[in-house]
């Protein structure tokens, strides 16, 4: 009978060890996932900022008017493929969305609120980052 009890103790210990291993693995995976998500989020913010850079230099009101044929966001949303690396060995698809609307005006300027959202489906759940900008145009 002693042999059987030793066997049970051994099986019990192995089960405990297996549970501990699985639990540790899950914890590490959660940490790694979080780091990867932070990485992807940083890049989505950067891509949204890149669009805002172009909008900063707009001087024509029609580019911020959603009813105009010259509207900057008339082709949005669209997918932009961004390539990285010396030989473009890495690439990422970013979905860009954007819109602008009129805020107010003074005798000298008109102000618009511009919003750009960059979305990445490289991770699940997807990551979205929105950057907003107040654009002032001289009359």
């Amino acid at each position: 009978m002693n042999d059987y009890s030793e066997l049970f103790y051994t099986i019990g210990a192995m089960l405990v060890f297996a549970l501990f291993t699985v639990s540790s693995g899950r914890s590490f995976r959660a940490t790694t996932d979080q780091i990867i998500r932070s990485d992807v989020e940083f890049r989505t913010i950067t891509n949204a900022q890149n669009e805002i850079e172009h909008i900063r230099l707009i001087t024509d009101d029609t580019e911020l008017d959603s009813t105009s044929s010259n509207y900057y966001f008339r082709t949005f949303p669209h997918v932009k493929t961004v390539e990285y690396g010396r030989n473009h060995e890495f690439s990422e698809d970013i979905i860009l969305k954007g819109h602008s609307y009129f805020l107010d005006e003074t005798p000298l300027v008109r102000r618009y609120k511009v919003s750009v959202t960059a979305e990445s489906k490289a991770v699940v759940p997807k990551i979205q980052s929105t950057v907003e900008f107040i654009k002032t145009i001289r009359k």
Binding site: D3, T10, M14, F17, T21, S24, G25, F28, T31, T32, I35, I36, S38, D39, F42, R43, T46, Q49, N50, E53, H54, R56, L57, T59, V82, Y84, G85, R86, F90, R138
Partner: protein, 194 residues
């Protein structure tokens, strides 16, 4: 033959292998997490510094503030900090492929050097290990340009890798944690609006 003894040795062997495998997995995951976290922190700091500098190209500077430019180097003048003792200074970003990082085992990293104001009253050099640094220069119509006076847009690309590998492939090739970043700058002072 003592079956019990044999079984014990087998079980002990399996347990030893399991513990060894688990320990190795823990080490790899820990190294990956630390490498990733460090990379992101370094990228954040460099992105902030580089963005501050590049947005100030030509600020309070004469016309044609860009002095030297290439895929791995940019030298320009501008007042990059409002609260220091310097007015317009020369700032240089240069990826020196003749200066490899010897403190790490990564063979791909070289020093990215930034020369300019490092404090209120000091000019100096900051060295950052990166594995790729590249600048593209565009004219006002979006085409790539090689004329200094026509530069209106800059596209900067950075690739960071961890200094040490976080794991090895089956063929003993080291794997380094990699972070990439690409940013566009249209400095106001070379894109005069008014």
């Amino acid at each position: 033959m003592n079956v019990g003894l044999l079984t014990s040795f087998l079980v002990a062997g399996l347990m030893t292998l399991s513990i060894y495998s688990f320990n190795r997995s823990v080490n790899e995951n820990t190294r990956e997490a630390i490498s990733g976290s460090n990379n992101l922190e370094r990228l954040s700091e460099v992105a902030e510094l580089l963005s501050n500098d590049f947005n100030k190209i030509g600020f309070r500077a004469p016309v044609n503030p860009i002095n030297t430019f290439s895929a791995e180097e940019l030298r320009f003048v501008g007042d990059v900090y409002n609260n220091d003792n310097f007015d317009t200074t020369s700032v240089r970003w240069f990826w020196d492929l003749n200066d490899p990082v010897t403190a790490t085992s990564n063979p791909n990293d070289f020093y990215l050097k930034r020369t300019g104001p490092v404090s209120e009253s000091t000019l100096g050099e900051i060295k950052i290990p990166v594995t790729y640094f590249h600048i593209k220069y565009y004219a006002g119509d979006g085409s790539i340009t090689t004329e200094r006076r026509n530069i209106r847009k800059l596209e900067v690309e950075l690739v960071f890798e961890s200094g040490e590998p976080y794991r090895y492939k089956a063929d003993d090739t080291p794997v380094f944690y990699r972070t990439v970043w690409k940013r566009i700058f249209l400095p106001s002072n070379i894109n005069l609006l008014f």
